[in-house]
Symmetry: C2
């Protein structure tokens, strides 16, 4: 503690105090005044010693941690971390506390093809120089768009080059479509449950949202046609392959029927494809777009789940009638997607690295998918209902009637497990018994332990809830 | 031509014919069947020879050109280009024809600090591995936000860390603010003339746009207050430093007055700062934000003009009341800005490379700015009015009354010079005598020649227009 008492902070100085404190401690680490794995004073101790607010110490420690200078040990304290470079990250501060994160939809970043990407980044800089960092055509880098035409051919989707529009991820695609064709009061149909980011975008255009249930074969077609007839929606937003959050996939018949309905009632379908490249059980599922003869489908492809989310890259296939409008919307959303990243990814596709990568992660996901099904079968409490998915990494459950998945979500969080309550996947947020677990980021070796622990805690939760309900009844009688 | 007659294209094959043709010719180049600098058949010849549509050949040649396999010589034809790697680019196809581009607002890409950036990219990948490409906090990478707090302190802007939000360029900032706080029918005040991308975003929210003229000291305050009183705008959108397109800067008094008005009438000011880091004539102009005591200013900073547009990076400083709403809007616009690019740029700032870079480009821009003023003085036709800017790279002119700048724009384009008609900078697009020239991308060595040629052509245009008007009068009499 002696060393720390020498820290001088100047309260009148322009620099915020927590940054001054951060700089002082960082200096001590850099200059080896603090030893590796040495413990820092507790927040209370240091704030008392330096006569500063404890939140100032919290902020300084947080910054040190995010920069990788220190690490936290649960229930023990903060320690100096001298092994630099290392992989500490601001997004990870939560994971120091959390044991199993069943919400994270990205694969473990160890699986990212970082070395290939690095090599190609260098290749692009050497080849193109400053031009690689100049403004990029809003429609996208042409060699990438061209490589995507070829990539799509292999998926059985044949489209002209003109229809390919580069976007900064699927969310941006949904947002631009909303801006482009959804006006105040228009109806948008979505699946129920569905992805909350899409709901937000439609609502930000003051659209009227109508949710149609999905089941094992896809969207409920009878219900859908009834609603379409009356409401004449501009947009039907769907995920026909390994739907999020349920994991259901559309049958071939459902795909053909929804396309017919769109044609008959003059609606566009947004197909949000986040996962069709990853093949489960050797069965490639056909995107709706591959059956789309009448140009009713706006296809959105994200590479966040099958490649790396941090490159912020995806593409749209647009019917000719929307290409110009969408391009304008893109231009006034962010001018263009980074031309540099587009150049690197174009090379990645061209050099044929994509196939190996997909093969590799398909194997890993298949393994985890099949193991998860096995563990669920083995360990699931009987009262828990489980909706068997057709592939993917989402598993959809429901609690017995009357139990709250929102309460379960926070109960589990207090016990260091993250899941999402089903409430997150509906337009009107109300409490519901459904919940989603996602295994994308859980390591294979942790999977069994994680699922056992999850079910143990759910069991405990159910018991606690029963007691709570009984007690509150007793209290009510007492009143 | 013999070699080309051997090309076989399969019209029934799934691959588009222009891609087949592209592949055939690329193979011939790769295998040295075609010599470097050898001429390709003309579009007419090849389409005749292979019995295909001429547009198919055009598309194939375009693709070859964009990928750097061939180059066009104006009025001569298309030639094989074997010197690969090289710097051909899809954005450059127009520049093969254009002699002077006075519309491009980015500095010549030769000035981009590509080598430093490359080194830091490798450093980030080595340090962080896959985490660098994982999802990023929507608010932004904390060490970057922290580095920005320090960067701002040097500009005289003191703000808490919480107020810093990373965005994918200033256009995205405008777009998110529009989504976040502008509703159907709200009034937005802009300068007149102003940046068209901002107008588009406001209009996409069905806002009512009210334009207030800017002059040498900034926005017309009397006019502004009259309009604010009646219309109670939510937003006032301004560029107080080297306004685009006029180049005018706000006086200190105007800055203080507009802040008072915003406070008095409860409006937010968007300050779009694309250039304050570049210092002209050794005089640093203070952003409005540095005087903003009441948190009325939403400050948007683009690094596209002072750094590299292809990284798609900027930041906003947000009043506390807007931070959460904006964060949601960001999340549902594109989830986050690329975390990888943020990490690299954070290092760039931290390693102190920024100052040297800004010094270097400030020198170059100052040179060009002062030379341009000199050349304008020397060569400008007397009838052309010129609005002396206070710095920057935009110069605002007007033709004599009654002449059309839209006609001038296309006249010059036909003569291989690009400028923007003033019509592009107003809400209601009507023809107008103003036009803008921008010298950002013109090399110093070409500047004098370019300006001489520009004025020569304007002179010719004015003469032609006079004749046209006389002739049309004669014709009218003849009727």
């Amino acid at each position: 503690m002696d060393i720390f008492s020498k820290i001088i902070l100047d309260k009148d100085k322009n620099k915020p105090i927590y940054i001054q404190l951060y700089n002082e401690i960082r200096n001590m680490i850099d200059k080896d005044i603090l030893n590796s794995n040495g413990k820092l004073p507790s927040i209370r101790e240091l704030s008392k010693l330096l006569r500063i607010n404890s939140s100032t110490v919290v902020n300084a420690y947080r910054l040190l941690e995010e920069e990788g200078y220190v690490y936290k040990k649960l229930g023990s304290g903060t320690y100096v971390n001298k092994i630099y470079p290392q992989k500490k990250d601001q997004n990870n501060d939560i994971s120091l506390d959390i044991l199993y994160d069943f919400t994270n939809i990205t694969s473990n970043s160890d699986l990212f093809p970082v070395n290939d990407f690095k090599r190609l980044m260098n290749k692009v800089v050497d080849r193109d120089g400053g031009i690689a960092f100049d403004y990029q055509d809003s429609k996208g880098y042409l060699p990438l768009r061209n490589a995507i035409v070829c990539y799509l051919e292999e998926l059985g989707i044949q489209v002209p080059l003109e229809s390919i529009q580069i976007i900064s991820g699927a969310q941006q695609g949904i947002d631009i479509i909303s801006k482009t064709i959804v006006d105040y009061g228009d109806t948008v149909i979505t699946e129920s449950p569905t992805y909350s980011g899409a709901l937000y975008s439609f609502k930000s255009r003051s659209a009227k949202i109508v949710e149609i249930p999905v089941d094992r074969d896809g969207i409920d077609l009878i219900n859908l046609e009834q609603k379409i007839k009356i409401l004449r929606p501009k947009i039907i937003y769907v995920m026909p392959i390994y739907q999020n959050p349920t994991g259901f996939s559309y049958s071939e018949e459902t795909k053909i029927s929804i396309l017919k309905l769109a044609e008959k009632y003059d609606a566009y379908i947004i197909e949000d494809d986040y996962i069709s490249d990853i093949i489960f059980n050797n069965q490639r599922l056909k995107p709706l777009k591959s059956l789309d003869e009448n140009n009713r489908v706006i296809y959105l492809k994200s590479f966040s789940k099958s490649f790396m989310p941090g490159i912020r890259l995806g593409f749209a296939i647009l019917p000719i009638s929307l290409q110009h409008k969408f391009l304008l919307g893109k231009q006034f959303s962010d001018i263009s997607t980074s031309g540099f990243i587009q150049r690197v990814f174009a090379l990645y596709l061209k050099e044929g690295l994509w196939k190996d990568h997909i093969q590799k992660i398909s194997n890993i996901y298949n393994d985890k998918y099949n193991l998860t099904k096995e563990y669920i079968k083995k360990y699931k409490p009987v009262y828990l209902r489980y909706y068997r998915p057709s592939g993917g990494f989402n598993f959809w459950f429901s609690l017995p009637d009357g139990y709250s998945s929102q309460r379960l979500e926070s109960y589990l969080k207090n016990n260091k497990i993250l899941i999402y309550s089903g409430s997150r996947f509906y337009n009107d947020i109300y409490d519901i018994e459904y919940f989603r677990i996602n295994i994308a980021s859980i390591n294979k070796t942790n999977l069994e332990k994680g699922i056992i622990r999850l079910f143990e805690l759910i069991d405990q939760f159910i018991k606690d809830e029963k007691n709570r309900i009984i007690n509150s009844s007793i209290n009510n009688i007492g009143l």
